[in-house]
Each structure stands twice: as C-alpha cells, then as structure tokens.
C-alpha cells in the first residue's frame, strides 16, 4: 500500500498573509460547523480566496485541518516557552503549565476539541494519522527540551526521562481538559490539585 505509507509532501509555501487567512477561516469554520460541516467552499469564501487556490495549496480538507492544528500548536508553544522562562522551581513550572491550560480553556477551547477531532479522524484517514502522529511527537519533544533546559538551569530535577514526563504531563492535561469541557459546571479545583500533586512525583526541585 505505497499510497498509504508514503508521507505526503509538505504543504506548499503560501504567501504568509493568505495562509493565515485560510487557516484562520478553517479554524473558525470548524469551531462553528464541525469538521464534517466545513467545506472548501465555506473556507474559501470566508478567507476571501478562490476554491482553486485552497485546493492547490492544501489538497484535502484533512490536510488543511492538520495545518490548522500544527500552526496552533507552534503558536501555543512560543507563548508557553516565554512563560516557562520565568519558572524558578518545580511548583512554579507546573503552575505555569496549568495557567496556560486554564487560559486556553477560557479563551479558546476550540483548539482542545480540534486535537481530539484530529485523533478521531486519524482512525480513518492515513494523512491525518501521519499529521497527528507528527503533532504528538513534536509537542512531546518540545516539552521534553524545555524540561531538559530547566534541569540544566538548576530549576528542577526530573525523576524519569524527559520524554516520559512530557507524555504524562500532556496526557493528564488532555484528559482533564476533556472533562472540564464536558462538565463546565463542576468544580475541577480538587482534581487539578490532585493532578499537580501526582506530577510532582516526576518533577522535583533541583
């Protein structure tokens, strides 16, 4: 099955401003209509570009969706890196991570739900599966690098390898945000404190 195993070519370079508009239009469309309800016609109209251009650059809706989540992840990591630079011990590091999740939930829960949507689509679409795998790898490596840097700075000590810490941090984060979104009226304070308490088993002060 060569067509399935061959990685798809990277999205062609787009003039930055048009790419931004297309990706932002897809983001908003997915938030409003879901992935199944978002068509190239909608997105092209709302981005003010031709349907042909969209097709030429992104090929499929799934590929565009992967790009939306990938860029979003990059933006979030840039912001997170700036915040984490301030952490002076393990508690501060975890608190800053928590703040960044809180902020995302408050201002932009679409990104959280998009990640899960990408995962469910990955089960039926090899291109999305590759994009999602790539996203999981890149985010894990990025957070692992931050953890390694913090350890070298003497800010914290890792009790296991940094990639495993990143896996557990993201897993708890994903699972809890899903629950917070599912039960918006419940107080998740105690559950979040419990999560931080458990994560301290992986992240000590230096």
């Amino acid at each position: 099955m060569e067509a399935q195993s061959k990685p798809s070519p990277p999205a062609k370079d787009l003039p930055g401003e048009k790419a931004e508009r297309i990706i932002e239009a897809m983001r908003q469309s997915v938030a409003r209509r879901g992935v199944a309800g978002s068509t190239f016609d909608h997105v092209a109209r709302e981005a003010g570009v031709s349907r042909g251009l969209l097709h030429y650059y992104f090929g499929t809706k799934e590929r565009l969706l992967v790009e939306v989540v990938r860029r979003e992840a990059d933006l979030r990591f840039d912001a997170l890196d700036r915040q984490l630079a301030e952490a002076t011990d393990a508690d501060a590091f975890l608190r800053l991570l928590q703040t960044s999740v809180d902020e995302m939930l408050r201002t932009d829960p679409t990104y959280v739900t998009l990640t899960f949507e990408l995962f469910t689509l990955a089960n039926r679409n090899e291109e999305v599966a590759e994009g999602f795998r790539d996203l999981m790898q890149r985010t894990r490596k990025h957070l692992a690098d931050s953890l390694r840097a913090k350890e070298q700075e003497g800010v914290l000590h890792l009790t296991v390898d940094p990639e495993s810490v990143a896996d557990v941090l993201f897993s708890v984060g994903d699972g809890l945000t899903m629950r917070v979104l599912a039960e918006p009226d419940r107080d998740f304070g105690p559950a979040i404190s419990a999560a931080i308490r458990s994560l301290r088993g992986l992240l000590d002060d230096a």
Copy 2:
C-alpha cells in the same frame, strides 16, 4: 431553548436480544465506517431489524451512539471490578488498572476511539453532550466507589478525595491510550511506568 436543556427520555426498554444486536451492529459499523458514515440503514440491515424499529427505540444516531458507549462502559466496569477485587496493595491496584487498559487496547481499541468521538460530537449536539457528561460522571463515581471500598478494606490509602483520584486516573489513562494509538510503533513502557510513579502520589499503601 427548552428543547436543548430538557434531558431526553431514557431509551425505551428493548427485548434484550434485539438491543444487543442493534448495539453490536452500531459498534461494528462505527469501527468500520466512522460515526459520520454509519446510517440507520446500515445498522438496521446488519442487526437484522427494521429501520423503523431502530428509529422507534433510539430516535437518533447520536442517541444510539451514547447507548453503545454507555453499555460498553458498564461491561468494562463489571470486568474491572472483578479484577480489582484481587488487589492487595496500591501497586497491585494500579497494575490491574494498567492491565485492563492494555487488554482493551489489544483486543478492542474501538471503545477508546468511540469515547473521543463522543466528546467531539458533544460539542455540536446537546443530546450527546448530556450523554457524555453522564458517562464521565458515572465512570468517575464508579471508580471512586471502588477506591473507597479498597481503602475501607485496608488495601490502600488515598492522599486526596476519591473522585479526584478517579479523575486523574482516567485522565492519564485517556491521554496515554490516545498517544499509544497514535504512535503504535513507539515503546510506551517508560511513559506508562512514569504515569504509575506519578499516580503513586495519590495512592499509598494502607
């Protein structure tokens, strides 16, 4: 919006054997075609019942999907309860939970992906949102009850309230299973060990 906020009536009682067939047919259809691709026509044909009967009992595809996941959760909890009865300390409890997740991933990953699919659908369908919220609450309470019972038996000691422990256990479990399914060729042994290490902060020996 009364129609949105009023809980839907419970699914009508079905003769057990027909209900089983419908639910199993929906499960298999979703695994093969996804939720979007699964129609009442498919499911009725594959369950050997009339489309009208399906409609009469379940109303919508979303409602049938919620029932599929709900019954699956009940079955899994029955099995898990029997397994957890054998746990004699905190490590054994966590190991049995891990075994049950491993087994699910090996034999039946559909259930895992269905949970995430239900979550993404919940964002756009109030009936699914209620079903998903109910599922999160019931599974949390069920595991919290098991944890409480184990504490009373003197098998383990909880360092925080049992519902928060259940939230963190399920969150880590969901996040990690999503990652394992996304990267089937990666060795998640170290990440799973790290997860168990972190969870030991919530679950001590008695």
